[in-house]
Symmetry: C2
């Protein structure tokens, strides 16, 4: 029988856990509210009880059926030592999560922890869009632009686990101001937020655009709105999409030239456009990738896992370390 693992996705709103097999398939899952703020010890007990009840309710025994439990959490995480150095959202510092959870889970279950963005990369490499890759880069187009790197067969996080801030790469010197203090960061042009901003501006400047039919309430514009207008051949929406895609492509090509990964996988809200997104990006990448004449080039793909990436990636920490 395939070995079983639990992956825990520790979010600011919910704690989600799932029992996952070696192939990365979720067999069952359960979630509870995080209810912050709360002391570390209380949260640790919540995690343990969530895992315990997840097993019980689905006919598994935590101690005899589960090989390992992996936790994906925001913050700077030292996976080797099992310590969360800093989790700003939770207000924790120097959180010895693995050592503390060992006291609850016992010594027979292996415990691992990793940053949640890195867990998503691990999920894609283990069972998703970058399956079997040795060098994979992931970018997420959401509120900001996040990054994760799996290089030479393991997560690369940088000094102090502070690397892969690919969103804070300036692509337009003296461009739009960014929260980070720089001007013209990739994130200001490529995040879902940036696309929404572009869409709203275009709507305000073009009261006749079909975008108003697609989304009569401008406050409800989302990352899909402009693409919907583009699908209806609305010229205003088409310009928004073209502007967005060009800058997204520029940043992606930068990352391809820098890392030349085997696969660059795109996640986050905007990646819901899937094949459309890839089809729009491809001509730019084919034209500008420095290694465009190489025998084999970086493949640009869409991440496979959506909300379950955290659970699967966290569970895979156990599989990878088995």
């Amino acid at each position: 029988m395939s070995k079983l693992y639990i992956g825990v996705d520790l979010g600011g709103t919910n704690i989600r856990a799932g029992i996952v097999n070696e192939e990365g398939t979720i067999l069952c899952k359960k979630s509870i509210k995080t209810n912050l703020p709360k002391p570390e010890a209380v949260l640790e007990k919540d995690i343990f009880e969530l895992c315990d009840s997840l097993c019980f309710e689905n006919g598994y025994d935590l101690h005899s059926d589960i090989e390992a439990v992996g936790i994906g959490t925001p913050g700077s995480v030292d996976g080797i030592r099992g310590i969360v150095w800093s989790n700003v959202n939770f207000g924790y510092k120097n959180w010895k999560i693995v050592e503390n959870l060992k006291g609850l889970f016992g010594d027979d279950i292996k415990l691992y922890v990793e940053n949640d963005a890195n867990a998503a990369v691990i999920a894609e490499v283990a069972a998703g869009s970058a399956k079997g890759c040795n060098d994979a880069l992931m970018i997420t187009l959401g509120t900001g632009v996040g990054g994760g790197a799996y290089l030479g067969g393991k997560i690369y996080a940088g000094y102090n686990y502070a690397g892969l801030e690919v969103g804070h790469m300036v692509i337009r010197v003296n461009g739009k101001p960014c929260n980070c203090g720089r001007k013209g960061c990739f994130e200001r042009y490529a995040a879902a937020t940036a696309l929404i901003e572009l869409t709203k501006e275009a709507m305000e400047n073009n009261p006749d655009s079909a975008l108003w039919k697609i989304c009569p309430d401008i406050s409800r514009v989302n990352a899909k709105t402009a693409f919907d207008g583009w699908r209806e051949s609305d010229p205003v929406a088409t310009e928004v999409v073209n502007t967005y895609i060009k800058d997204l492509a520029r940043g992606i090509i930068n990352l391809v030239n820098i890392f030349q990964p085997e696969i660059l996988t795109i996640g986050g809200g905007v990646s819901n456009e899937k094949d459309t997104l890839i089809a729009l990006l491809k001509p730019y990448i084919d034209e500008e990738d420095y290694a465009r004449n190489a025998r084999e080039r970086t493949k640009i793909v869409i991440a496979k896992f959506r909300n379950d990436a955290g659970i699967i990636g966290a569970a895979m920490l156990g599989v990878n370390n088995a």
Copy 2:
């Protein structure tokens, strides 16, 4: 007694070899002309004879004194398999250099090959500015802007060994056209060539600048000229240096945010400015590094080795693999 290694720096003009100890100190060296074009087999024989005579002339015996010979060469190099996939300057493809040299050196001497830029990074990590680092990034400011990465304790070269083209990261969308086909590449603003271009333009526009005293023949402007003018407080030179430094800083901060290496080391012609260069860059980096408030940050330093980086790095291939 310390073990001895030979490092060979295979250039288009010269082949340079040195006997190097475990600490990365060159004990003696010798060079011959490369005299391209020539068939692979002839070049291999040249390399062997250079190493053999280097030993003989300095009182060493190739077979009893030398542990390993490492070769640093331009091109895309698979160090694991010992193959140079492509060396455009030499006109070689799929060059099985390690296997072929084994036939000349015999089985008792270990042989290694690596890309020459990567060899320079290895030299800095083994015995130079990034000594003992686990994650180091190197950029070279020369004709172009090159990059090398030592991540997680080994060279990261990317898929097809085509990564680390950090010079071809766009920092100014629709900026100066680059040979690579993109516009606004970092290299167009940060290479020594770019600094020379800026200096010449400023001289042409300012016939009264002190730069003309420093370099009366404009065709002889080099990467030092503008810095010399800056040292004399010439306002034109100062503006050139400020413009150059700002864009150089922007690209460096991009790379710091992306890799967050322990050390980012700067080599190439412009790095001859040493402490001056670091002092000018530092205020920008302190202001914009995404991890500027972290406990410890990426250190920005000047590469230690100049023309000998290739020999030392190639020799260190043997030390690292010992």
